[in-house]
């Protein structure tokens, strides 16, 4: 069925922004705002989007933006929410829009506190798997096997990517889910669901590929993102109340094909890749056990 029948809407993200060609994070923002609409406010910490959001006097978005310091997304959203509620603007959606650095690492504390407080906003971590804005340094979201500027050469990252959704599920927030820019309808559904839940924090872990940092052709930004899901390196799933798991994706594509498309994995041997495949298989099995309940 033709999607063009459904919308001829105004994008809430402006063109002319300075994102890299093929930037997954900009596709992510565009799709997120399509789902959420213009009664939305966005809190952006230090990350690629802090730059993409625009230099004075420009803004890349047609919704209000509050730029903030790196570690503070969770806290600023809480404060903003309190203010809006006190002003009677309860229908405005607040989204924290942070990268993996500002979520998994420096921003984690504030995120955890917001989750524990049960604050009413949607925290979206758009994940390009490293500190990209500062020039591709590793974060705790960088996957095992990746080369970055701080895990260079033979010292490629030998620790696993932190499982942020499991951590958020352990906070027993009402809703957390993974999403991916190559699956726009799934993303839309999850954001609309998140928006409708007001009883606590909602956390979306949104996969956003990065041609510049991962070393692949910009034209493949969506393709690579899709491969991450279909190889189960990044499965799509939801967790409600920290315990009800629903898996939204499948696939058994070999992770080999996914990894070999990216320069950041160039140092891996076939044996290393086999280990990654085993890890993926184990994690998939674990996820399925949780879904079976």
């Amino acid at each position: 069925m033709s999607k063009s029948e459904l919308f001829e809407e105004r994008e809430l993200m402006n063109t002319g922004h300075v994102g890299c060609p093929g930037c997954g994070a900009t596709i992510a923002m565009k799709l997120a705002l399509r789902a959420l609409g213009d009664k939305t406010m966005v809190v952006i910490p230090a990350c690629c989007w802090a730059i993409i959001a625009g230099n004075y006097p420009q803004s890349a978005l047609k919704v209000p933006v509050l730029n903030t310091a790196f570690a503070t997304t969770g806290a600023v959203c809480s404060g903003l929410r309190a203010a809006l509620d006190l002003r009677g603007e309860k229908d405005t959606t607040i989204i924290g829009w942070a990268g993996d650095g500002g979520t998994f690492d420096i921003g984690f504390q504030a995120l955890s506190a917001a989750a524990e407080r049960g604050d009413d906003f949607i925290y979206i971590c758009y994940d390009n798997e490293a500190y990209m804005n500062t020039g591709v340094q590793r974060s705790s979201s960088t996957p095992w096997g990746a080369s970055t500027m701080t895990t260079p050469g033979a010292s490629w990252k030998r620790t696993q990517k932190k499982n942020i959704v499991e951590i958020m599920a352990a906070h027993r927030i009402p809703y957390t889910a993974t999403a991916n820019i190559a699956f726009p309808e799934d993303l839309e559904r999850k954001l609309r669901k998140a928006r409708s839940i007001r009883s606590g924090l909602r956390f979306i872990h949104l996969f956003a590929s990065c041609p510049t940092g991962w070393g692949f052709a910009p034209a493949d930004a969506i393709k690579i993102s899709r491969m991450a899901v279909l190889s189960r390196a990044f499965p799509l799933y939801e967790v409600e109340e920290g315990e009800r798991y629903t898996i939204n994706s499948g696939g058994d594509a070999p992770v080999y094909d996914y990894l070999r498309m990216q320069n950041r994995f160039r140092r891996l041997s076939d044996g290393d890749i086999a280990m990654i495949q085993e890890h993926i298989n184990r994690e998939w099995e674990r996820l399925n056990r949780k879904a079976r309940g």
């Binding site: 213009d38 009664k39 939305t40 406010m41 809190v43 802090a50 730059i51 959001a53 625009g54 230099n55 004075y56 803004s59 890349a60 978005l61 047609k62 919704v63 209000p64 933006v65 509050l66 730029n67 903030t68 310091a69 570690a71 503070t72 969770g74 806290a75 600023v76 959203c77 809480s78 404060g79 903003l80 929410r81 309190a82 203010a83 809006l84 509620d85 006190l86 002003r87 603007e89 405005t92 504390q109 504030a110 955890s112 506190a113 524990e116 407080r117």
Partner: protein, 387 residues
């Protein structure tokens, strides 16, 4: 209504009277009574606002920044380590031009752990763009907090209301608690100059390129320079309504004094006793209490100290590698004015009592020393521990 209030309570009552809507704080001794009192007010409805419990001071300031950007009146409080942790966000609040008011309880920084009065914590934040007002008693804490909102909202810079650990925060004093209606007349509802608004979407606090950053900073400096006059006008109104005023500085018997002691906070109360004693002994001693540290009250100090022969500064703080901070600021401020020698003394760090003897020593040393050392003189130090 006159009532007996702890310094912390006086602060909390002022926040309630100011109709603050969002309070977010992280507990740290000796600020805790302030925030506990406010949590109670929010819980029992005497303050129609929200109390956000956060997991660190950095987040406390971030949360009130978020709330202020959302367009409501906000408050937080901290001390010592907490204030230090907040440092990045202090810059952010000021650069963000948000009229946040914070109570800062002057407490020593560790290591070693020390809970007691020391001004180094707030003074270490003197470059952040916050207005700093040092209080000497409970009434002043209450009054200054109310004035702080008026001032902050006029200049779009945040204000720190500072009180000594325990000596002020935990001391009970008689305080005149104004009625809500009276405060409402003095402090109108908050009308933000900008806020997050879906009807007028804007991006706040984003990238300021080389071509505009300096002007944005100049704007902050110009706001600071407008503070003395604005504070005076605000205090005029406050005086008219409540019968009290404080000024940027509080001089005592300075007009004919030859030696004037400059100090701040609760030590000033003791110093006043000493000045009275010395006057009774025939010395022309004077006291200048500095209330407004940021912006530094250059004109006021020039005026008060214009005829002094010697000035002694008693700092309850130290900038390592330099010395007493009030002394160094005063020395700079006096440039081009009365070339009076400034004697710098450091005492009372980490809650060490500043007694009548301590202050008498200040005066005595100042009188008998021809020229002041560049280095600050530390009073009451146990030299044997340093061998």
């Amino acid at each position: 209504m006159k009532t007996l209030l702890e310094g912390s309570q006086a602060c909390a009552e002022a926040v309630r009277l100011a109709r603050v809507q969002v309070v977010s704080a992280y507990p740290i001794t000796p600020q805790t009574h302030i925030v506990e009192e406010l949590a109670k007010f929010c819980s029992d409805g005497s303050l129609n606002g929200r109390f956000l419990c956060v997991e660190s001071e950095h987040s406390a300031m971030a949360a009130v920044i978020g709330a202020a950007a959302g367009g409501v009146r906000t408050f937080t409080a901290s001390s010592s380590q907490g204030l230090a942790l907040m440092h990045e966000m202090l810059h952010w609040a000021a650069g963000g031009r948000l009229p946040i008011v914070m109570a800062e309880v002057n407490r020593a920084l560790g290591p070693g752990w020390n809970l007691w009065a020391d001004q180094t914590d707030s003074l270490a934040q003197r470059d952040t763009g916050w207005i700093q007002l040092y209080c000497a008693d409970g009434q002043e804490v209450l009054d200054t907090t109310l004035q702080a909102y008026r001032l902050a909202e006029a200049v779009n810079l945040p204000v720190m209301v500072i009180l000594d650990a325990f000596f002020l925060s935990h001391t009970w004093e008689p305080v005149d608690l104004p009625a809500q209606e009276e405060v409402d007349q003095f402090l109108p509802p908050y009308a933000p100059r900008f806020r997050m608004d879906t009807d007028h979407p804007q991006s706040l606090h984003g990238v300021a390129p080389i071509g505009v950053y300096m002007e944005m900073r100049r704007s902050m400096q110009l706001a600071m320079e407008a503070v003395p006059e604005l504070l005076e006008r605000i205090e005029e109104e406050f005086f008219a309504r409540f019968g009290r005023r404080y000024g940027p500085v509080d001089p005592y018997l300075c007009d004919d004094a030859d030696v004037i002691l400059v100090t701040s906070g609760t030590a000033a109360g003791t110093a006043r006793v000493v000045v009275d004693q010395l006057r009774a002994e025939g010395q022309k001693a004077g006291l200048l209490r500095i209330r407004m540290f940021r912006p530094f009250p250059v004109r006021s100090v020039h005026e008060v100290l214009k005829s002094a022969q010697k000035v002694a500064v008693l700092d309850r703080n130290c900038s390592f590698g330099a010395g007493g901070i009030f002394a160094s600021e005063l020395r700079s401020a006096l440039q081009g004015g009365n070339p009076v020698p400034v004697y710098s003394y450091i005492a009372g760090l980490g809650g060490r009592d500043i007694t009548v003897e301590t202050i008498r020593d200040c005066f005595a040393l100042t009188r008998r020393t021809d020229r002041p050392a560049i280095e600050s003189v530390w009073l009451g130090v146990k030299e044997e521990l340093l061998k």
